[in-house]
Amino acid sequence: MDKAKDVIIQLTVNNHAGVMSNITGLFTRRAFNLEGILCGRLKNTKTSKMYLLINNDNRIDQIVKQLKKLYDVLEVSICENCDYNIFDNVHELMQGKQ
């Protein structure tokens, strides 16, 4: 994972069926790239947290604005101090090097 080339967007979303496809649908429809997704339910709430890994091109602003328009997206921010290793670990899992 290259911090200069990639950005992690952090989302808080209502957790019900269909939210994930709304978000991935947005990326397909607007031809934004999406390199990885991590998602988990927040304890004792009706919300989930999502981390989206995307290439840092000049469309980040537009991606964030479009995400904010989605009904079930409650918060959007660019993750400044996320541990970028989380996606590296996923990458290793994908490549089969445990």
Partner: protein, 565 residues
């Protein structure tokens, strides 16, 4: 009291003030229909194709500004509706589509007439709701209307399985139910402009020498046409409009430059080249308006105000932009701008106009489509609602019809959907019984929803359908002529129905003005009646929409700007 899901739906629709619903029943929405049968507040309009139900809802919504409703059953009912929904999305029209779904227990089994309505809805709606219990309806129904109308409007689909429509629940107190359900919701704030923002805009305008307003659908959505007029007049700012903005500024005013872009007048696009400050209000820098974006308004600083933050700096970076309701901004801004006659700028525009006039202005042939449309405009009241289909006739209307009031032009701008005109006209007539509605169509487009003549015959509305009949898919033929070396394929119809007789078969008056000696007198006579009718007017298939900006070119590089004259 106990209520079924279907009863809750109809009751809440009545509470929203919905008085007309267009649709077609089927297995999966029958419970709703059987409750609708008992409603004395809602009139159901049985269409002949679900796409028309969507466009009727659009006709109501586009003329009233309020969300309108359509019904469809699961499966093919839904897929038929989708074009009208996508159309509403691109033109920001508030529509609430309520679709029946197969029973929950069967969802996911490829049951008869099952499609993934919500999956299909994702890219073409503002939002969609899948209802999994009757209880949820109390919250979702009003919420759908709020989403459809709030901020930048758009279509919403509510998909409701049949068992949810039949499920009975106890509701003691309606208002309590709704409040309880709403708490889950996080309020999304509507963007507003600060006083400093407005100050900054005023300063930029006051300091500019050659400002130009570029207006669009946001003006009518925010109901700010009157303010806009006073604003433009006070500081003497010329106005160019997108297709969606036509009607928001009186077309006969000296400041009005008409439509800009691909089929704008030569002078309009050339004035864009000279402006030093582009004031973009309620627009989205669509490619049909801007041409090659890098060459759009090369000498100008750009101010952009739109309710949708995502439109700011999306296609063109601006010098100053604010996400806000245009009306709120204009309210303050009008106080802060100088009174300024801008004599030099006006003289420069006058000179550009003189040197680059609209190409047809000296042609007097009354059969020329531009003259026909002008004539129609001269014959009817200024509050007449015009709908169009898509093609050359649409652009001729945009170029030459004398629009004076907002919401008098209903046209499929974003999606460019042939078949829009007739059902949208029916919707407009339903919502505006005191007004005349004219659908100006082409012989290609009209056949895409021709079955709705039957609906029109049912309702006997004051709708006149005028077919500018060139025997071809004119706009596509034009593209073949100009940009594909006259390789004509699939644009000339081998046969065409006799439209006047066809109208009569549907039980509607039909007129054919072919070989009509006194065209204008005949038009006047027909337009003075208020029954539904179809008028076929043959036009020369070689007429093209001019000027035209070639694909990928800058707006100033139009062709056909000087030809006819």
């Amino acid at each position: 009291m106990r209520y079924s899901g279907a009863e809750i739906i109809i009751k809440l629709l009545e509470e929203q003030g919905v008085d007309k619903i267009a649709g077609i029943p089927g297995g999966a929405n029958l419970p709703m229909y059987s409750v609708l049968a008992k409603s004395n507040k809602i009139q159901h309009i049985l269409v002949r194709h679900e796409q028309a139900a969507g466009f009727i809802a659009q006709g109501i919504a586009r003329t009233t500004g309020k969300a309108a409703v359509c019904f469809a059953t699961s499966g093919p009912g839904v897929t038929n509706l989708l074009t009208a929904i996508a159309d509403a999305k691109l033109d920001s029209v508030p529509v609430v589509a309520i679709t029946g779904q197969i029973p929950s227990s069967l969802v996911g089994t490829d049951a008869f007439q099952e499609v993934d309505t919500c999956g299909l809805a994702i890219p073409i709606t503002k939002h969609h709701f899948f209802v999994s219990s009757a209880k949820e309806l109390v919250h979702i129904l009003p919420e759908a209307f709020r989403v459809a109308e709030e901020g930048r409007p758009g279509p919403v689909i509510i998909d409701i399985p049949k068992d949810v429509q039949l499920e009975e629940i106890e509701i003691a107190n309606w208002s309590l139910e709704d409040v309880a359900a709403t708490i889950v919701d996080v309020e999304k704030n509507i963007p507003t402009a600060s006083l400093e923002d407005v100050d900054k805009i005023a300063q930029m305008i006051n300091e500019s020498r050659k400002p130009l307003l570029y207006i669009g659908g946001g003006i009518l959505q925010s109901n700010s046409h009157k303010l806009l007029y006073d604003f433009a007049k006070k500081n003497t700012i010329p106005v160019a409009s997108t297709l969606m903005g036509l009607g928001c500024f009186p077309s006969n005013d000296s400041l009005f430059l008409g439509m800009l872009g691909m089929h704008g007048a030569p002078y309009t696009n050339l004035v864009l080249n000279e402006t030093d400050l582009l004031i973009a209000f309620g627009v989205r820098f669509d490619d049909r308006a801007t041409g090659k974006i890098a060459e759009f308004c090369p000498k100008a600083s750009i101010i952009h105000v739109d309710i949708d933050p995502a439109e700011l700096d999306k296609n063109k970076s601006t010098n100053f932009s604010v996400a806000a309701d245009i009306r709120m901004v204009l309210d303050e801004l009008i106080l802060l701008i100088d009174k300024n006659p801008r004599e030099e700028w006006m003289a420069e525009i006058e000179a550009i106009k003189k040197a680059n006039p609209f190409p047809i202005s000296q042609n007097n042939d009354c059969w020329h489509p531009l003259n026909l449309i002008r004539k129609i405009g001269a014959l009817v009241d200024p509050d007449t609602i015009i709908t169009t289909d898509v093609g050359q006739h649409q652009m001729w209307v945009a170029q030459s019809y004398p629009f004076q009031q907002p919401r008098t032009l209903l046209t499929s701008g974003g999606l460019g959907t042939m078949g829009f005109g007739l059902p949208a006209a029916i919707g407009a007539a339903l919502a505006n019984p005191e007004k005349k509605v004219i659908c100006i169509s082409g012989d290609g487009s009209i056949l895409m929803n021709i079955q709705e003549l039957a609906t029109l015959a049912d309702l006997k509305l004051n709708v006149t359908v005028i077919i500018l009949n060139n025997g071809v898919l004119g706009m596509v033929r034009q593209l073949q002529e100009l940009f594909f070396q006259q390789t004509y394929i699939a644009t000339r119809f081998i046969t065409n129905p006799d439209f006047a007789s066809m109208a009569k078969c549907f039980g509607i008056k039909g007129y054919d003005l072919k070989n009509q000696g006194n065209l204008e007198a005949m038009l006047e006579k027909i337009l003075s009646t208020s029954e539904p009718c179809v008028i076929n007017i043959p036009i020369d298939f070689r007429e093209n929409v001019m000027p035209t900006v070639p694909p990928g070119a800058g707006n100033h590089q139009m062709i056909g700007g000087k030809k006819h004259g």
